[in-house]
């Protein structure tokens, strides 16, 4: 553990760097001057309520959107300056487990896990099958490879998606809402699994979640996102003990009362502009 902290402190080994990212959805600003670093080997949790912009930020980190204002660098390379082939190369080093799993419904679990191997390597079928079984073993789904995704429960879908994300042995793993829609026990299982994977595979992990318990349990560092802005980035304890009012509200789950201007309220209701 100490060596790990040392290497982390040693410096500029960021796998993800985001600088001054601004994003709009139509006229609405969803990300406002977001800057962020994810270091090698750490678990970074991006936390925020719904509408905080965390899903949008994730889409930028995955390269599903190209930044118009600001810079996103993956493994030190500006994603706006990558050719199609360089992108493909980079994507082999990234694994993503989507919220609902996003397994291909027409394929069995085993075929789903094999899919990245089939597309990016020239391994023979048997090797691919062994590799996919290994990853299914890691996520405790051994023996399920012949089932179809529709036959799996919510927790199993997420674990199968994790196996697919891991099959290329990525350096960077993204996990979108690992505990959403799961009961507490299954969610806690998944948290343990994420920790185990980080230790076993030395992979940097970015988790997007709105679940506090899970965030504090797995995070090395937490970024709190609110209304498109980063409120703070820090170690789990720093966030827990923060005295920034918005963060305290998030942590204690209290709703922030906004002062109501009577005139403004009436104007909004009647829709008149005068």
């Amino acid at each position: 553990m100490t060596t790990m902290t040392m290497t982390r402190a040693a410096g500029n080994d960021a796998v993800i760097e985001v600088e001054n990212l601004v994003a709009f959805y139509g006229e609405h600003k969803v990300l406002d001057d977001v800057s962020l670093q994810v270091r090698k080997g750490e678990i970074m949790v991006i936390m925020g309520g719904s509408g905080s912009g965390k899903s949008t930020l994730l889409r930028y980190l995955l390269g599903l959107h190209r930044p118009v204002s600001g810079v996103v660098r993956l493994f030190g390379r500006d994603i706006n300056r990558l050719s199609g082939r360089q992108w493909t190369g980079l994507r082999r080093k990234m694994g993503v487990a989507f919220q609902g799993g996003a397994l291909f419904n027409s394929m069995s679990v085993g075929e789903n896990v094999c899919m990245p191997l089939r597309e990016h390597t020239r391994l023979d079928r048997k090797t691919m099958r062994i590799m996919s079984r290994m990853k299914l073993e890691v996520v405790n789904l051994a023996g399920y490879e012949n089932l179809m995704p529709s036959q799996l429960s919510g927790g199993m879908l997420k674990r199968a998606a994790l196996a697919r994300a891991l099959v290329m042995d990525p350096d960077l793993l993204f996990f979108d809402e690992p505990s959403a829609g799961l009961d507490p026990v299954v969610a806690a299982d998944l948290d343990n699994l994420i920790l185990r994977i980080r230790d076993a595979m030395q992979v940097s992990i970015v988790v997007v979640t709105h679940e506090l318990d899970s965030a504090f349990k797995i995070a090395d560092r937490i970024t709190v996102l609110d209304k498109g802005r980063i409120l703070m980035t820090g170690a789990a304890d720093e966030v827990r003990n923060s005295d920034i009012p918005r963060i305290r509200n998030l942590l204690t789950r209290t709703h922030e009362e906004q002062p109501v201007d009577a005139d403004d309220y009436l104007r909004r209701l009647t829709g008149s502009t005068d």
């Binding site: 995955l62 599903l64 493909t88 990234m94 989507f98 990245p116 597309e119 990016h120």
Partner: protein, 267 residues
């Protein structure tokens, strides 16, 4: 009040036109990218997989054969009945054969093939891609470094370009057979004589015309169905609307395109 109404109307028309232009542009890009992967995919190390092409050919082409045969046969029989009824006044019933043979090979064989394929696969393709869009499967493809167009559109494009001409030939044959059965029953012309007459009337250009159109229809169905799938809005309602729109647009595109081509090919 009236001015405001007119403004609202013209604004809606304007939006519709702009939307139409946008759709057209999107479909053109889709076609370009689809063809790009078919031709250069292997070199780009993203080949269009043979097994997915074969699967689409089965799904879109082979499984359409039974219903297409029945419809084409019935269509040919109806045309023969109408032809005989109309020509009877002139005592020229047997001329029905030459009319039927050219109309079927140039026009109705390919038209009914297009409509059957659009109705069967236009909705299925849009529904499949729309569902994948909603469950983030398309995003999953992209983050895996798999171009969604290469994986989803190109196999369908290949499958339609291969199966449409074959289906068209088959549908034309079935329609001619349907006409033959009616001629046998009504005019007592034997099938052998009937087929001899058909063969004597037809020139290669008739068949080429049908085949050429079938390729155009194949491209239209691919583009309309896939683009509706990719642009399906969220939720069950969005998906339903996308599939309906896909079928309606596929069939409209086929019929209008058919008219335009016939205009230029015949006149």
């Amino acid at each position: 009040m009236q001015a405001a109404g007119f403004r609202g109307f013209s604004e809606r028309v304007g939006r519709r036109v702009a939307g139409g232009v946008e759709d057209f542009g999107y479909a053109t890009l889709l076609l370009a990218e689809g063809l790009f992967w078919i031709v250069l995919g292997r070199w780009w190390r993203q080949p269009v997989r043979l097994h997915s092409m074969v699967r689409e050919m089965m799904e879109i082409g082979v499984l359409a054969i039974p219903v297409l045969s029945v419809l084409a046969f019935a269509n040919g029989a109806m045309m023969a009945m109408q032809g005989i009824y109309t020509l009877r006044d002139f005592g020229a019933e047997s001329q029905v054969i030459s009319g039927l043979a050219t109309a079927v090979t140039r026009e109705f064989g390919v038209l009914i093939t297009g409509i059957v394929v659009a109705a069967r696969s236009g909705s299925a393709i849009a529904a499949r891609i729309g569902t994948m869009q909603m469950s983030q499967e398309i995003d999953a493809l992209r983050v895996m470094g798999v171009a969604p167009v290469r994986y989803l559109v190109s196999p369908i494009l290949v499958a339609l370009l291969v199966t449409m001409p074959v289906l068209t030939l088959m549908a034309s044959a079935m329609a001619i057979l349907g006409g033959g059965v009616i001629c046998l029953l009504e005019l007592h012309i034997s099938l052998a004589t009937y087929l001899d007459r058909v063969w004597a009337v037809l020139v290669p250009a008739d068949i080429w015309q049908g085949l050429f159109k079938s390729l155009v229809f194949g491209v239209l169905v691919t583009l309309v169905a896939t683009s509706n799938g990719f642009n399906a809005s969220r939720g069950a309602e969005g998906l339903g609307r996308a599939t309906t729109r896909s079928v309606v647009l596929c069939i409209s595109a086929i019929v209008v395109a058919d008219m335009i081509f016939t205009f230029f090919l015949i006149l």
